[in-house]
């Protein structure tokens, strides 16, 4: 496998274009089980019939684990949004429709979003005090339990728009099954970290199209903020802490 053409570079992985498709090559520090898990998640989501790049193989290349998937020609939605700001409304419509399509699927063997969030909140012992963790866990515990496919990192950079306009969702490493509003809350958070106005636009559209009350999605925000905090992006910490430090109505 020839790995020359780097498309994306992250601290823990490099993504190459290769003959077989796309190769995501992870640093040795990245747990092996995470790589296989991503492959398994993606295979499970493939089974739902969603139009996503197929998993082709998991290989060991020069002591690094690599996940090879189908290549889809096109630009990311994020790029298009930047290039054509006048088409933002149209893109946002497509983006939300796509997310709702994902939410319409079920994959009973995917991991549970609630368990994942629970683990993430509990892992924040150094950053978040016991009282706040208790409140977050109580809040999470009281949220309705659903089992819809959730991408977990659904943002325009993970949507590829083909030449013919068809849309492909990539990066299923965080996929779970759970409450769609939690998934929307995560998307809102990802927007808000960059552009609050765009985030609000997304929220309004999601709530309108999914017929969901805004407060219902908002109730998930402290929880997904805590989940985001586990990614340890120091720049985001103050912002996220503000979202987390809230008080239940009495």
């Amino acid at each position: 496998m020839k790995l020359e053409n780097v498309i994306v570079e992250r601290p823990y992985k490099k993504v190459y274009r290769c003959d077989e498709g796309i190769a995501k090559v992870f640093e040795p520090s990245h747990p092996k089980e995470d790589v296989f898990n991503e492959a398994l998640n993606q295979a499970r989501v493939e089974a739902t019939g969603l139009n996503i790049p197929k998993v082709k193989s998991v290989n060991e290349i020069d002591g690094k684990w690599a996940l090879v998937i189908d290549y889809k020609e096109g630009k990311t939605l994020e790029e298009l949004m930047q290039e054509n700001p006048d088409k933002m409304d149209e893109y946002m419509e497509q983006f939300v429709d796509l997310q709702l399509e994902i939410h319409s699927k079920t994959a009973p063997l995917l991991g549970k979003l609630k368990d994942k969030l629970n683990r993430q909140i509990n892992s924040l012992k150094d950053v978040v005090d016991a009282t706040t963790r208790y409140e977050l866990l109580t809040r999470l515990d009281s949220m309705p339990k659903h089992h819809k496919v959730c991408h977990g990192d659904f943002n325009p950079s993970n949507v590829i728009v083909g030449e013919d306009g068809s849309l492909y969702v990539v990066d299923w490493a965080h996929a779970t099954q759970g409450n769609a509003s939690a998934d929307a809350a995560m998307t809102y958070l990802l927007f808000a970290l960059k552009d609050q106005k765009l985030a609000d636009k997304y929220m309004d559209l999601f709530c309108r199209k999914s017929d969901t009350a805004k407060q219902y999605v908002q109730q998930w925000l402290p929880i997904v903020a805590a989940a985001q905090l586990t990614k340890k992006h120091t720049m985001e910490q103050d912002f996220l802490m503000k979202w987390i430090d809230i008080f239940d109505y009495q």
């Binding site: 016991a130 009282t131 208790y134 009281s142 402290p222 430090d245 008080f247 109505y249 009495q250």
Partner: protein, 870 residues
Amino acid sequence: MATKKKEAPAIIDNVEALIEKIKAMKEAQKVFATFTQEQVDKIFFEAAMAANKARIPLAKMAVEETGMGVVEDKIIKNHYAAEYIYNAYKNTKTCGVIEEDTAYGIKKIAEPIGLIAAVIPTTNPTSTAIFKTLIALKTRNAIIISPHPRAKACTIAAAKVVLDAAVKAGAPEGIIGWIDVPSLELTNEVMRDADIILATGGPGMVKAAYSSGKPALGVGAGNTPAIIDETADIKLAVNSIIHSKTFDNGMICASEQSVTVLESVYEEVKKEFAYRGCYFLKKDEIEKVRKTIIINGALNAKIVGQSAYTIAKLAGVDVPENTKILIGEVESVDISEEFAHEKLSPVLAMYKAKTFDEAIAKAEQLVADGGYGHTSSLYINTAEKEKMAKHAAAMKTCRILINTPSSQGGIGDLYNFKLAPSLTLGCGSWGGNSVSENVGVKHLINIKTVAERRENMLWFRTPEKVYFKKGCMPVALDELGTEMHKKKAFIVTDTFLYKNGYVKPIEEKLDEMGIQHTCFYEVAPDPTLQCALKGTDQMRAFEPDTIIALGGGSAMDAAKIMWVMYEHPEANFEDMAMDFMDIRKRVYKFPKMGEKAYFVAIPTSSGTGSEVTPFAIITDADTGVKWPLADYELLPNMAIVDVDNMMTQPKGLTSASGIDVMTHAIEAYVSIMATEYTDGLALKAIKTVFDYLPAAYEKGAADPIAREKMANASCMAGMAFANAFLGLNHSMAHKLGAFHHIPHGVANALLLTNVIRYNAAEVPVKMGTFSQYQYPHAQARYAEAARFAGICGKDDAETVELFCEKLEELKKAIGIPKTIKEWGIKEEDFLATLDEMVEQAFNDQCTGANPRYPLMSEIKELYLKSYYGN
């Protein structure tokens, strides 16, 4: 050496220790459950005293630990939780028999529930802990507290004060417990293992409580809207709101979150708020505070229980340090407006309303925004009853406070002394709660009701006067003139009687007394509604103060119906004819009769007894529907049983109506509602019919004694069944008569002995339901009646058999055949209607009093037996 009991773990910080602790507490509670009221009251007293004494250190601890609220106000809350709760319940019975009524045979016994799981919020930790532990002690429950991690030390300290005092006063060791290191896992475990959950706090915890599968008294969030009407005392209103909103820095869940002021007094209200130290935020400052108090629709933890000054500083707004409340004048009541939320701090939204209706509409929306079921308040001149009623009707809140600071007012007993003191305020189903009132001791006990068997209250109803004896009619009628001074009499009768001069003696007597009269004589057998309507029209035109019904059942029934329509033209037949299980518990309240006219009934045949019964039946000729009416309002006021009116009855009428009398008496005697008062009348009637009916039938007017005896028997049987009711024989006869045009009395006779044998079963499939009816004893009752009539066998069974034979002989003697078939009903006609008759007979009003509760299949069998014979 005695084995040492396993001690409960000292520190509860993991599931194993918790389970061990709960086990020990449940054991302690078992002992506590045996305590007397006296012992419990002593413990309750000592515990309240101890909590009261510790109120200052506990308040200080709470403020220090949580960083929220005001020490002095928390002292009041602790004081209140100890003193007011003690005072409210010191004399309440919570152990053993708490209520008893020997007359009704009812006793209520209070039992503890067991182990209470208490969730305590951070906003009122010590006072809520005192409140909950005290009411748990008063009700002999154990209580385990799951404190909030932000307030665990002070919550536990408060619980410990109460526990130590309780144990010192004799309570079992460890009757109050707590989790030392709270976690969601332990809280959920506590909820799972407890017998009931007393949750106070935010929606998350309340939801967890409800989903634990244990009964929960959970309470939810409030968002109290206050309205200041233009009629309000503005100084009182504004200062009450300030007093409430600043209390413990606005952390009471019932505290005002918004105030809607009528336009005409808006400026005055604003001036008073400003004068009393509240700060009105400027436009840009409002925006800053908005973003500070609410984050993504949730309350910023940093502002809860802080002073107005601190919050302003956080928002970057300069206000004087002694500012009481930050007020934002805003317009939207939508949830997207930050000020429309609950703020748990001295931050208040202020709205302007053009009209009172607009103010109510705003308050309704604010309640919907986040305070369903909690509290609302209104400042108004209490003479404005209409406005207050409108407000009360619109608010979906379980507390509606008038001219009252809502923080102090909602918890009860401070501004209104009938509102129960409590620190756990139920929000009803609107708030997802099982309780809509202030939670108290009654919610922590199970009440066992011991109900002893009692018999129904019974009465005996008859017309106020029953005249009898040959020749009594003129004497009785005389009373209408000389005693009652009646002016106008309306006579109802049938054509035959009218044309044959039966009305004459009545008219003459009325003329003699100067009573005007008129006569309606168009009543036909099976009287119709149309006929009764015609009579009623004439009655309305004539406006009588007396109605005289002369005739058999038809004329008397028709006259009763006219009486109803004359007095109550608005009454609906369908309603009046509604079936009932117990005439005294019926749904429909029959209209009051006798306000326009006095009703006199004069029978001309010996049969229906209608002159003394509360029944009437009428047929709608258009639809064929029969309306059977029954109510004591339909009892005639006077009955005149004068045999002179009955002398010339034809033979067929004598036999049919005579055997009807027999059936009335027998059914009244074995009815499940028979009483000693009706028994005497029934027995005498049965014997009289046996003795005199054959002679009355054979000799007619030639045997006036037999005629008179039958007249009396008819009336006595009437009084018996007017009070004891009838049974299955009549149910079946009603349908047999209706479907096959058989005279009512004959229809009864054709079924009589079969029904008696059926009812006499010692092992009926089902018996009738009535408290007095203790066991199936119809056989013994029939035998009693038989013996009274002089029929004796070697035992009850044989006596009943002889009784039946004797009845068959009587039928024969008066020309009634043995079977329906013999009466001449064609087999195919009979069978074609059988199933319908069965169902209708089952549903007949008379069936309910039958001693044997019949199955439809049994009714069918009885019909077939009565058709073909044995």
